[in-house]
Symmetry: C2
Subunit: 278 residues, 2 copies
């Protein structure tokens, strides 16, 4: 696969790139941002994949989270993919939690979504292989994190593909789409009505069926307007306790769901990943 350069900006002694490439998983072009720290000029570095949430693209975290400064200090590559396939020929929906820009990191099995919405395969195969081939990434030192629905993507992809990821954290993640109405609507659309299929893409269900091989770090603002209705963090706390899953889940006082929250804790998350990626 070949990469087309979309943008390149010097930042903190390294370079922030945006690339475009054809994806066989989504049958569309896909775009991702990647920051290469100064250390990447001298050899392979550990990497952190940051998955963004509903309504986002690769740009939100890249512009707002402030990860470049910490990445330059730690010698960590950051990869921020777009959140869905896009294009005139790609199915869509007016609701923010379905279709283009809605970051469900799963492979849809139902029409009309199955044609392009193959985001699990995109992240874990197309993008993953591309990154290993084209960027100076250390193959066994890739961590994953994300925000909101991207936090859910980080949790579910890590638990489903533990061989691909060495560390796991999340910011204000959705944890139980099967248990909230909008999540049920989306799962029905993408996966049909078989709730066994839903359970394979629901973080609370996965932590009990598969678990995660190590510890994980989750930060959640306690003033997050989506906490009680959409995110439901306590459900994940309970699921971790029931499953004996090691997880540090912190409620951060006064913080909301915005990227100001992500920016405030990105350094702690990146140091946490760096300590585990070595």
């Amino acid at each position: 696969m070949s990469l087309t350069l979309v943008a390149s900006n010097r930042a903190f002694g390294g370079t922030q790139f945006v690339y475009r490439h054809a994806s066989s998983a989504t049958s569309t072009d896909m775009q991702f941002a990647t920051y290469l720290p100064p250390q990447a000029e001298h050899g392979p570095c550990p990497a952190l994949i940051f998955l963004s949430g509903l309504t986002c693209s690769e740009e939100n975290a890249t512009v707002k989270a402030g990860y470049q400064r910490v990445a330059a200090e730690l010698g960590m590559i950051v990869i921020a993919p777009d959140t869905s396939p896009r294009g005139e020929d790609v199915a869509n929906d007016e609701r923010y939690f379905l279709g283009q820009a809605a970051s469900f990191y799963l492979d849809a099995t139902q029409k009309p979504w199955a044609t392009h919405f193959q985001m699990e395969r995109y992240i874990t195969q197309d993008l993953y292989d591309l990154v290993l081939e084209k960027l100076p990434v250390q193959a066994d030192k890739i961590g994953i994190t994300g925000h909101s629905m991207g936090g859910h993507g980080a949790l579910t992809l890590a638990m489903r593909h533990p061989e691909l990821f060495a560390s796991l954290s999340a910011f204000a993640p959705v944890v139980a789409p099967s248990q909230v109405e909008w999540g049920q609507v989306a799962f029905s659309a993408y996966l049909g009505d078989d709730q066994a299929a839903w359970a394979e893409h629901d973080a609370c269900a996965l932590v009990q069926s598969r678990g995660w091989k190590a510890d994980m770090l989750i930060d959640q603002g306690d003033a997050d307007a989506f906490l009680e209705t959409n995110l439901r963090t306590p459900l994940f706390e309970a699921a971790c306790q029931a499953a004996g899953q090691a997880a540090t889940i912190r409620y951060q006082p006064g913080y909301d769901h915005s990227y100001y929250f992500v920016a405030s804790f990105i350094e702690e998350h990146m140091r946490w990943h760096a300590a585990r990626l070595g």
Copy 2:
């Protein structure tokens, strides 16, 4: 004057606010962002005004520059005003360097601009007084900086109002609007054809006629696409040398005009201001 709260987000232990208020200078409502660090809960703090450039609002620096982290560490309030009056009744122009969102920090004397485009009075009187009245700012410890046309605003407002500002820096500033075609068009529109009036709002002319009472720090990316055509940093270097003006002007290798450049050096600028604001 009263402030209307537009937005409030917890960030780095402090709070990022956006406020709206009526301005007698512009005869419009105006909006500004301000970050209050944790230290502001316990007493007045030094403050830094950040002026943004052409096409920007208060949002660009606030979302992209990453100033909150450093402000929280230093105990510094940051104030990022909008760049122009706005509204259906406000004169405008399709060209990016004239009218709404074009950040010329001067008081227009010509029709149709004079009615609302009173940005020098807005910053140095309305906003300045408002900030002293409503925010826990130390009156004699206010610095000013800015990016691009906002960098020019910082330079010119500081030299024209040295009693208001205790420290001065700029990121990739415009330095000589009188000597570039688009600047001449804008000055003609706002100030008429009297070049003596232009000289009162041109950084290169002001450094020779008035100078700045102390040192100043300027960073400029050497890969900035606007450097040769629009910014013309060497003209300012020459003007400072001719006038005996103390100025640290640094060319940063590989950096462009984007907020990735600003973010990369905001910490150094804020520490530089903090050292001078005490």
